[in-house]
Assembly symmetry: C2
Homo-oligomer: 371 residues x 2
């Protein structure tokens, strides 16, 4: 028998895996008054997460989830299917979700192990697209969840009411739910997340191999090369897991990327300058449209601000903001292809944009709102 | 008869093409006491460059270069060969250089038009690797030349004494001369400058085409995708010229890049996770070595500073710097693959690094010097 959950936000949840993301979700839930229980195989993670005050540590996984309406499985990706199965058994009425950055492989494994369709109906996979370069519950913050896109990917076996309960939870903690199938999720992230990772790593790999014969090579590298290779410093173990788990979509995305590269290569080699220029022009327009959209976050505004090159210019900007209590969510100095400076992209909460604007114009800057 | 220049820095130079880069070089020269004459086909550029006080505008190209020991040709790239030829004729003893971002195509054209080996011996091509996202002499600044890598690429016909005079000039204006052949320059920039441009444009092109069928695609894009596609917003006309002019090396670099992508693709598709992880690990090490080097600039230091997520944190940092008169040369908020924040990379002049360090620790930050 399937218990039908209400689409009201849950009052009690459990977080299983209380690392950075799990503990941040716990904090975002706790601040809205939701009671959170937590469990982690790692006693240190468990204790540190409990120290933040956002959750009560349980003595076992079963104890953590027993009473929960929603269970969020936020363990490392390899452990997710096994832990989801255990949670579906231990919490016979709960909606169970996960935070893995690929979805179909997880769904396949869980489906293979859960023969009971009513239990499988309570599994609604998800992918909160937030994170930080840090790890561990001691760096957790509710703000890591604020406004992020949280993809909710019901399977063909998921009960609609459980998907609705998860969506309601996502909204309650301050994130933006985006609904799609697990397959579509994996197809899209292959292009916008996994392919950039591969493209960056392959470029750094190539340059570093060639540097062996050309020791001056990286001396000539500028800001553009650094932009392109920044992702190459990501966690190798995590990424090999993700790419292999999503291998079919990743291989397809790489094939399509190689096809684009070949078209450009032929146009360059054949001196078809007008065609090269047209491709560059279309890509430029698309990139400028993207720059005018906020990063994967709703609830924020982006201001473009020209900055004079003298000591104190950034300080004037930042202290003006601080005096009005405007938090700078993000700040990027925008570079040309060959370095240089002069423009800052400033991200602030939507609610603070008027204050930010007034502060900037008061101290003599000339902001333009991009998003 | 070849006049043999001394390796002392020149006392009189001419800048032909007084746009952003030409006018910046003029300012960097003028501040050391070098007399600068300027010429630009465009009367507005000529007048604006003269208004900065760094150069005296001449009535003609011939008048500008007549008396110069070094002539810097900094016109748009298509005009460079023609203008170099005119300068070699009009200034019969001067060292003539250019600032084009590709070298062999320019050398080939100049060689084809200058039959006199003594005149050709005075041509020493170059490539100052600085720039800005702005253009026009009104945005020129001597600081655009400070500490940049300025590649000096004598041809097989260049007289050594003229190359030495150009090197001496480069040092005098505050840049870092790096000597190599025109062929080697074009091979290296194909990998670290032209290939990243192509890789970025091809990725943006792919994503924007696929977005037509998958409207949510870019909603799932995060900081990593933005890093990879930032270069795609560069000037299409300029870049199609550069890529076509360096087409052989660019095609070779794309081929080698595609080969790397294929190797990674096969390892992913065949589930060879250990091999994928090894490639990612090697790329990560190479990228971290690169992060530990300054951007194409000498004379600067990079500090890594953890930043708490609260209003005023950046302001405390920036105002502390301003109070001690430390100019922030560059500031980057370092993101993880999926967004988030927490680390700032701060670039300051080498001479100011101790002040910057003390300021940061005084106000409670915990900086680490990266470069």
């Amino acid at each position: 028998m399937t218990s039908i959950p209400s689409a009201d936000p849950p009052r009690r949840i459990a977080v299983v895996g209380t690392g950075l993301l799990g503990a941040s979700i716990a904090q975002a839930a706790a601040r809205t008054g939701i009671a959170v229980r937590g469990w982690d195989e790692e006693p240190t993670n468990r204790a540190r997460a409990a120290e933040t005050g956002a959750l009560r540590a349980a003595g076992s996984l079963a104890e953590a989830v027993a009473d929960a309406e929603v269970v969020v499985v936020s363990t490392p990706i390899r452990a997710i299917p096994e832990v989801v199965v255990r949670c579906l058994r231990a919490a016979p009425a709960a909606t169970v979700t996960d935070v893995g950055s690929i979805k179909t492989a997880i769904v396949r494994e869980v489906r293979g192990r859960v023969r009971d369709a009513d239990a499988f109906a309570r599994f609604v996979p998800g992918h909160p697209m937030g994170g930080s370069e840090r790890s561990g519950p001691e760096h957790a913050a509710a703000s890591l969840v604020d406004g992020i896109v949280w993809v909710v990917t019901p399977t063909d076996g998921s009960e609609a009411a459980h998907a609705a309960r998860l969506e309601s939870f996502v909204v309650t903690v301050g994130a933006q739910p985006v609904l799609m199938s697990p397959e579509r999720h994996d197809r899209l992230v292959a292009v916008v997340s996994h392919l950039p990772q591969v493209a960056s790593t392959a470029l750094m790999d190539l340059a570093s191999t060639e540097e062996a014969d050309e020791p001056d090579l990286l001396l000539l590298s500028a800001g553009g090369f650094r932009d392109l290779t920044r992702l190459a410093a990501s966690n190798p173990h995590l990424w090999s897991d993700i790419l292999v788990a999503n291998r079919e979509e990743v291989a397809r995305a790489i094939d399509r990327y190689i096809a684009r590269l070949r078209v450009l290569r032929e146009a360059v080699a054949d001196e078809r300058a007008a065609e090269v220029e047209r491709t560059f022009d279309e890509a430029k327009r698309a990139r400028l449209r993207l720059a005018a959209k906020p990063l994967v976050r709703s609830g924020v505004a982006v201001l473009q601000v020209p900055i004079p090159d003298r000591p104190g210019a950034l300080a004037t900007l930042a202290s003006g903001m601080a005096e009005r209590g405007v938090n700078i969510e993000d700040l990027q100095i925008v570079h040309s292809a060959e370095g240089g400076r002069g423009l800052v992209h400033l991200t602030v909460a939507e609610a603070a944009v008027d204050d930010a604007w007034r502060t900037l114009t008061d101290v003599g800057f000339d902001p333009v709102r991009l998003a």
